[in-house]
């Protein structure tokens, strides 16, 4: 009991309140400490604080760092349950307390009103975390006086890393809990949005045409109501087959809007945005797209000479694309891929493919310098030699 010191209930700077219990009696080892009956025991991140219920000035605290192990004594007819704290020897820095010397190496807390099980659980938890060490370490770095007290060396480092990992783990799992909840709700959400859309259609008179259109576009961008997933198909090839059909049907409209060509990267973003939750891996998407050319669908995958793979409409006419590109180049005398991309409002990769295609068809010729690759109308074929 000589490890206990006089104290007050106010917490220190980085100390946190954890738990408290009424009706706690203090035993110095085996002996009842008669002056310290019926008190309130408070567990903080750093200390155990015992306060007399009748007189708040009678307040004792025990640093958790003293605790070497914990034990529980169950209650019986004549005895109330107790928590036993085995303590390390008294340190020199400890303030004065009610007892200056004790022959016992443990104190006992008797829980006359119960609650010891919960208290024990909390106490074990707090002692296990050893927050008083974690807190001290960064502030006392470089102070040789403190070093002895801290867990240093490899063990200390390992402990720190473990602590860090534990915290990261809990953050991650907390984050994914939210996502799981969203996944569960996703189908419901899509169903709700559908029913809203239906209602709007019925009440079209009350809402202006413009608003309906806008609201519908929001709903549409919510995406694919029933995405093809791996779970819903037994075999891989069947799954990819279904997936490629879905990709085709989803992409037809956006492709028509953007000139008939799209890079696989864009496709990946579009599809996954439309799916919302059941996201596709790039590999699955690519495998599904590879099936497109062999299927009778409006959309197909085409590999260009440079190795770039584009998803494009089957109906998109190569000749007209070439003619259009050649015309644009002619109007501007010469164009580089990024200039053309700006003119037609498509990605640079697609613009480059169009230029290369037009070159391949003999409509353009190139000027390759350190400043970049530019394309000119193919005067070699159109104009005479001299």
């Amino acid at each position: 009991m000589d490890r206990l010191q006089w104290s007050n209930v106010s917490l220190k700077d980085d100390e946190n309140f954890h738990h408290s219990n009424d009706g706690v009696k203090l035993y110095d080892g085996e002996n009842k400490a008669s002056a310290y009956e019926d008190g309130n025991l408070v567990l903080t991140s750093h200390r155990l604080i015992w306060t007399n219920v009748n007189d708040e000035r009678v307040c004792l605290s025990l640093d958790l760092s003293y605790i070497t192990s914990l034990d529980e004594e169950p209650s019986s007819f004549t005895r109330s349950a107790k928590i036993v704290c085995y303590l390390s020897p008294r340190k020199s820095g400890t303030g004065s307390g009610p007892v200056t010397h004790s022959s016992y190496t443990f104190v006992r807390w008797s829980f006359q009103k119960g609650g010891q099980t919960e208290f024990m659980r909390q106490l074990k938890d707090v002692v296990g975390r050893r927050l008083w060490e974690v807190r001290k370490a960064p502030t006392n770095q470089g102070s040789s006086y403190q070093v002895g007290k801290l867990k240093q060396g490899i063990a200390g480092i390992e402990k720190k890393i473990n602590e860090q990992q534990r915290r990261t783990d809990s953050t991650i799992s907390a984050a994914f809990e939210d996502l799981d909840a969203l996944m569960v709700k996703a189908k419901e959400m899509v169903a709700i949005s559908k029913s809203i859309a239906a209602k709007i259609e019925q009440k079209q008179g009350n809402i202006t045409e413009d608003e309906t259109v806008r609201f519908k576009s929001y709903l549409l961008s919510l995406g694919i109501p029933d995405p093809v997933t791996r779970d819903s198909h037994k075999s891989n090839s069947k799954y990819l087959l279904e997936l490629s059909k879905q990709i085709s049907s989803v992409l037809v409209t956006p492709l028509q809007e953007c000139g008939g060509m799209m890079t696989l990267t864009d496709v990946y973003c579009r599809i996954n945005r439309a799916r919302g939750v059941e996201l596709l891996s790039p590999q699955d998407l690519y495998d599904a797209c590879k099936l497109l050319p062999s299927m009778d669908l409006p959309v197909t995958l085409k590999t260009y000479g440079s190795g770039v793979r584009l998803i494009q409409l089957r109906s998109s006419d190569e000749e007209s694309v070439v003619a259009e590109t050649a015309l644009l180049v002619e109007e501007r005398n010469c164009l580089s891929a990024d200039e053309l991309a700006r003119v037609i409002g498509l990605s640079v990769i697609i613009a480059k493919e169009r230029l290369l295609l037009a070159e391949q068809k003999g409509k353009l010729c190139r000027d390759d310098t350190v400043e970049g690759l530019r394309f000119y109308p193919n005067k070699f074929l159109t104009d005479c030699i001299s």
Partner: protein, 179 residues
């Protein structure tokens, strides 16, 4: 080479893609054709018979300063190789550093000279090579003032087809007889 700068450059000379090897086969063929024509007419204009690749690659023929384009040396060699296949160029060394260039092939020269000799009634007569190149009769002809080695080569092509015979008159004064 004279400093006369009146050579009429074709439109390709100011066309930047002219200086990049075109990947399209059709385009490339037209581009090479244009280069061949340009090189021959340039050499003809300046009466150049021998080219040093390093020297010519720095010159205005392959180097258009106004549009800051030049044909890379490897491509110049490539074009000259094409000309060599057509009989206009003969490499003087295996490293392809210099070559002789004939804007007319020896066969073409030979035909030109033979047609002229025929029209001048020089058949079955012996005339000296000097007469051919510097005589009054040939004044105004394209081969007037032609270099001796080229003339000999032209006449040799005629000889091999049986239309002429070279006759050695001694002391570097050769003659030729047309049939």
């Amino acid at each position: 080479m004279t400093t006369d700068d009146s050579f009429p450059w074709p439109w390709q000379h100011d066309f930047p893609p002219f200086y990049t090897l075109q990947p399209n086969a059709d385009t490339r063929r037209k581009q090479e054709e244009a280069w061949c024509t340009l090189i021959l007419s340039y050499c003809k204009h300046y009466k150049t018979h021998q080219l040093d690749v390093a020297e010519i690659s720095a010159g205005p023929l392959f180097n258009n300063k106004s549009i800051q384009r030049k044909l890379a040396t490897e491509h110049i060699v490539g074009i000259l190789n094409v000309l060599s296949k057509k009989g206009h160029v003969e490499w003087l060394d295996t490293n392809k550093k210099s070559c002789i260039i004939m804007w007319r092939t020896p066969e073409e020269w030979g035909k030109l000279i033979y047609d002229w000799a025929k029209s001048f009634g020089l058949m079955n007569t012996v005339c000296t090579l000097y007469e051919l190149t510097n005589g009054e009769d040939s004044a105004g002809q394209e081969f007037h003032g032609i270099e001796n080695w080229l003339l000999v080569r032209a006449l040799k092509t005629l000889q091999s087809s049986g239309k002429a015979e070279l006759i050695s008159l001694g002391e570097a004064n050769d003659g030729v007889k047309f049939f």
